[in-house]
């Protein structure tokens, strides 16, 4: 059945409207945006990684002089800021953006243009933060930016401004993406898919987004206060003017701890999906998973003061937060139970994603359990700002979050690029990374027991930490080699063009494996009818292994042999550009630039509101029809 073009009120196209470089700028396709996020995230991961290597180089020997104390603080701060806000976050949004809408059987997210604008906010935020190196020096007050060290008096330079503007944009990106995902999950699931039979990853996305929307705000407000303190001479955080230095810490950590779960939940999601797929079993205890996710969402609101046990809040307060913090271990351990239950009786295939997932399990045990020690307010009086903490949270941040995300990245790589990974390259890379990781961070736990503070740029030979630090530095360089091998494996897969089939691993259980790799522009030529708990698996067991389409009259996005697509738009790029210019206006600070950027933003929003965004029809390819 052909489309009668002259009768349509929307244009009909044979090819997608957003191909080419200009198309990339104007795209609103969640898949392209996801890949942009991933690429950006890996780029910033390399930047943050080089900074980590500098740190380890400086600490390799006592009284080392690779970099000065000032530079060290800059590198340290940039490492934390870049890794958390501009490496981990975009990699997560990249994976979620690509996979999640397909998994729930949607053709795009709820607000495609907003999705692209989120990407611009994140990219320009990262650019601004890193540009500080070339604008009078990067920020050196720590990624937590405690006042008064981050105030105009003690950090007068552009670096702190760049942190505030850049991270503010990064947070804005996270907020907008999260709103987008919540609405997408609530409103755009394929017919037949209820909330309780969504793929596990969708549940994790939902809670991650809810946490990001709610917890991000106090931090954004705090940054706004600090901007006012710095630019307009107010005294929110200046004790001399009636302000309070602890106000920053409260607002920061009300965000800062849920942020850990915002980053961790996606990693748990990837591991859950990977283990279930390669064990050949559904996730064990779906209801427990939903309960555990929700419990983490609630408990994450009553843990923030465990970062502040040493501010003199008093025993009753501290004790309340000890209980809240330790309570989080219950839902966290439930995930372990769920994974073990999933593996039990399964037939686990040790592919590359499974390597990362299994490594993640063990490192997550260590990261979580060491966290239980410093969750005790008494013990934390010794561990606060000590290398034990650094060891602990890197076991969570790399062992838990990065390994989990790499499991997801390697699992969905064939789906996202259309090419299979070469496991013969990937697996040695995994082992180097895994060993290097443990070699780096296990000694740091011991350094903590031996009383070494964190964030020191040097130490004395007689303090006795030299050997451990040397080992740690060797491990850091091993990790770098592991990451390089991983990147080589990714590049090799694209260059060697080993085409992936729709069900690339042959173990797919959810909808993304029912469509070609890489996914076509419209995801689903015909909207799939979800008939079971695991949509594709149900068809494999009870049907012919292919998704049944919904009846034509229920597929509102499809007409004839064409599918409705959202219009590409340059307006997100215009708004993003305005934010970039205004952002630099704030960094320098330069009022003209700020106003000029603001005008561009306003024009972009106006254009956004007025442009024709009704979309177009894209003709479905023969073989996919």
């Amino acid at each position: 059945m052909a489309v009668a073009a002259e009768k349509l009120d929307l244009p009909v196209r044979q090819t997608r409207a957003d191909s080419g470089l200009l198309g990339l700028i104007s795209t609103v396709d969640h898949k392209k945006i996801g890949l942009l996020y991933l690429f950006t995230g890996i780029l910033f991961l390399v930047v943050g990684g080089i900074e980590a290597l500098l740190i380890r180089l400086q600490l390799a020997r006592p009284l080392n002089t690779v970099i000065t104390g000032e530079t060290y603080n800059q590198v340290l701060t940039q490492h934390g800021t870049v890794m958390i806000f501009f490496a981990a976050t975009p990699i997560i949004w990249g994976l979620f953006n690509y996979v999640m809408p397909i998994m729930i059987g949607a053709r795009d997210v709820a607000f495609p243009r907003l999705n692209m604008m989120s990407y611009w906010c994140l990219l320009w935020g990262g650019v601004i933060v890193n540009a500080a190196w070339f604008l009078g020096g990067a920020v050196d007050a720590g990624w937590f930016a405690y006042v008064p060290l981050s105030s105009a008096q003690f950090s007068p330079g552009e670096g702190m401004n760049a942190y505030l503007v850049g991270v503010q944009l990064g947070m804005l990106s996270t907020m907008l993406t999260s709103i987008n995902f919540v609405v997408t999950i609530l409103k755009m699931r394929a017919p037949g898919m209820g909330l309780m039979n969504m793929p596990p990853l969708a549940w994790f996305t939902l809670m991650t987004s809810i946490l990001a929307i709610t917890a991000g705000i106090p931090f954004m407000v705090a940054m706004l206060f600090l901007m006012m303190d710095r630019w307009f001479g107010t005294s929110f955080f200046a004790p001399g003017g009636g302000g309070d230095v602890l106000l920053w810490q409260h607002l920061f950590w009300i965000f800062g701890h849920p942020e850990v779960y915002i980053l961790l939940l996606p990693a748990l999601a990837c591991v859950s999906e990977v283990l279930s797929a390669f064990a050949g079993k559904p996730l064990f205890g779906y209801k427990s998973m939903v309960a555990a996710i929700s419990t983490i969402g609630i408990l994450s609101w009553i843990v923030w003061m465990h970062h502040m046990y040493t501010v003199g809040a008093g025993s009753p307060t501290n004790t309340a937060f000890v209980i809240g913090t330790k309570a989080v271990s219950v839902p966290a351990a439930i995930f372990v139970f769920i994974w073990l239950g999933t593996l039990w009786g399964g037939r686990l295939r040790y592919t590359l994603p499974v390597h990362y997932a299994v490594a993640m399990m063990f490192e997550f045990y260590i990261g979580g359990l060491t966290g239980l020690v410093n969750a005790s307010s008494s013990v934390d009086r010794q561990f606060q700002d000590n290398m034990w903490i650094v060891g602990h949270f890197h076991f969570v941040a790399i062992g838990g979050i990065v390994f989990g995300l790499l499991a997801g990245l390697t699992y969905w790589w064939p789906k996202m690029t259309g090419f299979m990974l070469n496991e013969a390259i990937g697996k040695p890379g995994f082992w180097v990374l895994f060993l290097g990781f443990n070699l780096t961070f296990a000694p740091q736990l011991v350094e903590g027991l031996l009383g070494m503070p964190r964030r020191v740029y040097t130490y004395l030979p007689e303090q006795g930490w030299a050997g451990l630090n040397a080992v740690s530095s060797i491990g850091a360089f091993m990790q770098a080699v592991g990451i390089v091998i991983l990147v080589i494996a990714l590049l090799e897969s694209v260059l060697s063009r080993r085409r992936a089939t729709a069900d690339a691993w042959g173990v797919g259980r959810s909808l993304e494996w029912s469509i070609p790799s890489p996914a076509p522009a419209y995801n689903f030529a015909r909207l799939p009818l979800v008939r079971g708990h695991e949509a594709l698996w149900h068809e494999k067991m009870h049907g012919d292994g292919k998704m049944q389409p919904v009846p034509d009259e229920e597929d509102h996005g499809r007409h004839g042999n064409a599918v409705h697509m959202p219009s590409p738009s340059f307006m997100p790029a215009v708004v993003g550009l305005g934010l970039l210019v205004a952002g630099f206006g704030g960094v320098l600070p330069n009022v003209t630039l700020a106003i000029a950027g603001g005008v561009v933003v306003a024009l972009g929003i106006l254009g956004w509101a007025l442009e024709d965004a009704r979309g177009y029809y894209l003709v479905v390819k023969e073989e996919e029809a």
């Binding site: 409103k187 709610t214 001479g233 107010t234 005294s235 009636g242 007409h559």
Partner: protein
Amino acid sequence: MTTKAEAVGHAAGHHAHAALDNLKRGVWVFLASECIVFGSLIGTYLALWGRSTSGPQPHEMLAQVLPETIVATFILLLSGFTMALAVHAVRRGNVGGLQLWTLATIVLGAVFLAFKIKDYAHLVGEGWTFASNIGATTFYTVTGTHAVHLAVGLVWLLAVLVNSLRGRYSSENATAVECAGLYWHFVDMAWMVIFPVIYLLEFAR
């Protein structure tokens, strides 16, 4: 059997409808996050309450603008009522009512904003500026954020008014108005929290 042209018209209409449906849910989620914005701001106001080290104390200054503010508060309450009437009208297909009540809401909101600007001008004229002391800073931050939200709401309502004059709304197609209404009610309710906390609490000491 419908003809093809009708079917296509229906499909395109459906995309618009689905997008608006998403928009409404999006506004709800957005307003949830806005609650936390104002929660954080008011929390900060309370945390730093009574810590002004120099300059005129907030209660001395706010006493000077309290009578106008009470009047303005009633005006804003009234605007919430007219907004509800506007949404009610469009749901029943009464586009004339929609235009009338939207206009009334805009006028009332603008009057409220005018009151605020007058108050600010008065306070700043008395030398109580943004950075005078922590009481002033938090006062201007909380009420200023609210005023900015209100101004955005006015622009939104103006757009609704223009679109309704262009015949965009009907009883089936009222979601855009409902979204604007949700936002306006939120701004209205935020003030109902801000007013007692900021203006009345000062005198309870």
